[in-house]
Amino acid sequence: MDVLRLVSVLETLPTDRTRLLDNLGRLRREVGPIGPELSDTLADHMSIRRGEVHEVVSFYSFLQVPVDAVRVCTGPICDCAGSRELLLEGCVEVPCLGHCDLAPVVLDGDDVRGGVTYSTNDGPSIGLATRDDTLGDYERRGGLSLLRDLPPLERIIEELKTSGLAGYGGAGFPTGLKWEAVARETGRPYVIVNADEGEPGTIKDRYVMELRPHLLLEGTLIAARSLGATEVYVYLREEYAGSRARLAAAIAEFGTAGLLNGLSVELVIGAGAYICGEETAMLESMEGRRGMPRLRPPYPAQVGYLGRPTLIQNVETLAHVPAILRNGGAQWRELGRELGDGVRLWSVSGAVRRPGCYEAPNGITARALVEEHAGGFTGEPGAFVPGGAASGILPPAALDVPLTRDALTDWGAGVGSAALQIFPRSYSPLRLLAETVRFFAEESCQKCTPCRIGNRALHHVFEELQHDRTPMPRHQIEEWLDAMHLTSICGLGQAAPYPVRNAFRHWPELFESLDRPHTPAE
């Protein structure tokens, strides 16, 4: 460790607890991986108990890893593409690097091996086909008009409600109601952009940030201005170096153009923890603690960042706001197909000809998405995942189901973050299930019993089942799934049973041995 470097960096680090994660990230980049000595040194500098900094450092995947480490994605799509063969000695395994359209994905330090390419389309709401390189580009396309002539808050909320826009991070909470809930609170609120995209298969927020960062900022500033916030934070996953650079540049352009006007927009860089995409875990992380979800109620709209009302909104959700306000909520809603309202960005990956991110109506079917946008299937499709890891695992028969919350409920699945992952027939649904549950087990924050142990146990059961062993009878697995769904604190544990129950239902032949007399494994 370069002690002189450490001393000079340390002097510049702020001591407020909310800066802990940021300071750790800077120390890692500028001095080296955070070991016990660096951790203690920073703890003393910031007057935080050493044990508490140890807890935080060890919570994240990357703080103890060199910045130039090779990171290999082993998310289901990359696993299916053979990424495990790339896992050489010293590589760091990451569950999803958010570049599933380029699978198998390897990061050399900050850089995506082989370079980043985009496969996308033009669309009526976000329109990713043309990249905005500068604020000028964005303005020439009609951008900034809403920010410069802000409609009254009541009208904004009304239009959002009419549009049917619901959070595109995965939970799907109606956006208009969320803004209304924050507006109802007294005191100055915070606005946080959830850019911690980590749901396996999901690449859409990265597409927005890298291709249309100014659009995201306009949507964000509309929220901040109309709700009276003066501080905006963008919580961005550490793996997205490209997005980081583009956002930082765009924020600077807004500042130079006088568009921030007393508002501050800051990037908060994560350090490798899927659960920090959960909004209350994100708040904990930003406040300098382990990213473990809070008990609800109260909700962040009432008691959020530093105890104040907080609007936390996914990147894509905010990027739709300008289009909704420009053309009206009703017109945006009409963009949907079947029973779906409006459009969204679909991340399409796996056994398709042109994996990428496509703007298409809600209510489109998986087959139409693949055929109209992603160039068609490569070979015969097997299992597919409609949303993210927790959205479910569906058989080819469901390819023609409109991808809406209601239609998928009949199949025991959900739309989640709209990360459509098509697996070839050769990839066993049991393997997909085991990999999915392993992901949950490894990302569990460890706070609550059902998520912490349930996912590990299920992973064990499905690994054993691949070797024809059944350590637990089906009725007991069902009881454990119930407990996970009903008693977990946050969505991670609550939703983990969906893919399991889907697989039981749609591939019963793979699980028949669970009904035979129970043979405990060693």
Binding site: G51, H54, E443, Q446, I453, H460, P520
Partner: protein, 350 residues
């Protein structure tokens, strides 16, 4: 005062009272593992979940305040969920009794009829060895309820323990896995007292085969300083020896918290070198038992002799740290008015 119903019966609670307490006062015991009244509600183990009408999921009674008109149920699916949660905890609980401390999980599992379906392949944790001689820790007994960690952060403000890592490798360990002696720990043993499974224990109890629950408790006042902490001497009924010291949250002045001396420094009681009667040095140079009257007389004569030969200022008084405020007052009174010296001090002040 708020009114609510508990399993269909009318019940009342104080404003803002937690469900777990309100239920207890209304005759319904709700088991908990991660809850400790001294700590902020955590709601992690989920054992205390109850059904609440209108809520989409069961809620943790340890972290939910009673609201007016709330309809709470502890039957329906709650017992089954609780049993399943206990099964989960048991499936990574490898060593239920490292040193005879009570194990609330094992007892609860017995009551619920819960058994582990299997032991998780990654249940075994890295052993923790420590050179301190007072506190031991068996990671395999830990259920990650985080009580000890929260105790160090919220009560003792020493943060000597950390919940380390994420996923299956997570564990509780002193800061960066160091010896407790190399952390901010003062060996107060508070983490030990709040551990519901006995994963942290008195090291000297290891292998003794003595169960804490079988010991006879005698409540007394700690003699180590003037604070007057209330303690329970835990006596082995066969040997009549004190084997450990505990305290209870309801005890005044210390609320169950102790320091390293109060909790661990009791072995002087049975020590062979302990003085149990007054001794006076004889002409032969050896110490001889005598009466208190004679001993005090010898001491007084000695002091008077020094005062006469060298003036009262030649006498100094050093009071023991174990004395109370009132006793210290009397000592300085004796020094200033009786011995007429200003040289009086307490070793607590240094």
């Amino acid at each position: 005062m708020v009114e609510f119903t508990l399993d269909g019966r009318n019940a009342t609670a104080r404003d803002g009272e937690l469900l777990v307490h309100a239920a207890a006062r209304n005759g319904v015991f709700i088991p908990t593992l991660c809850h400790d009244d001294k700590l902020d509600p955590y709601g992690g183990c989920r054992i205390c979940i109850v059904g609440v009408e209108g809520a989409s999921r069961p809620l943790p009674a340890c972290a939910t305040a009673v609201r007016e008109g709330m309809a709470v149920s502890t039957n329906s699916n709650v017992p089954q969920l609780r049993k399943t949660l206990a099964e989960m905890l048991l499936s990574e609980h490898l060593n239920a009794n490292p040193a005879g401390r009570p194990n609330e999980l094992a007892e609860m599992a017995r009551d619920l009829g819960a058994e582990a379906p299997f032991i998780l392949p990654d249940a075994k944790r890295e052993p923790y060895e420590d050179r301190n001689r007072l506190m031991g820790y068996e990671p395999d007994t830990c259920i990650l309820c985080n009580r000890c960690v929260r105790y160090t952060q919220e009560v003792m403000q020493c943060s000597a323990l950390s919940l380390e890592g994420r996923g299956p490798e997570a564990r509780i360990v002193p800061t960066w896995g160091r010896s407790w002696l190399d952390t901010e720990c003062e060996l107060c043993g508070g983490c030990l007292s709040t551990c519901p499974t006995g994963a942290i224990y008195e090291k000297f109890m290891e292998g003794s085969g003595i169960e804490e629950r079988t010991l006879e408790q005698t409540k007394t006042t700690c003699t180590f300083c003037g604070v007057g902490c209330q303690i329970d001497l835990n006596v082995d009924s066969e040997t009549k020896r004190i084997v450990k010291v505990t305290s209870k949250p309801e005890y005044v002045s210390n609320e169950g918290d102790l320091c390293v001396k109060g909790r661990f420094a009791f072995n002087f009681v049975h020590h062979q070198d302990r003085l149990t009667e007054p001794l006076v040095r004889g002409e032969d140079g050896g110490l001889h038992p005598t009466s208190w009257e004679h001993a005090l007389e010898v001491a007084a004569d000695g002091l008077k002799g020094v005062m006469e030969r060298h003036s009262p200022q030649a006498v100094g008084v050093l009071a023991s740290a174990r004395l109370t405020n009132e006793e210290n007052y009397l000592i300085q009174k004796l020094a200033r008015t009786g011995l007429r010296t200003n040289s009086v001090h307490s070793c607590e002040a240094t």
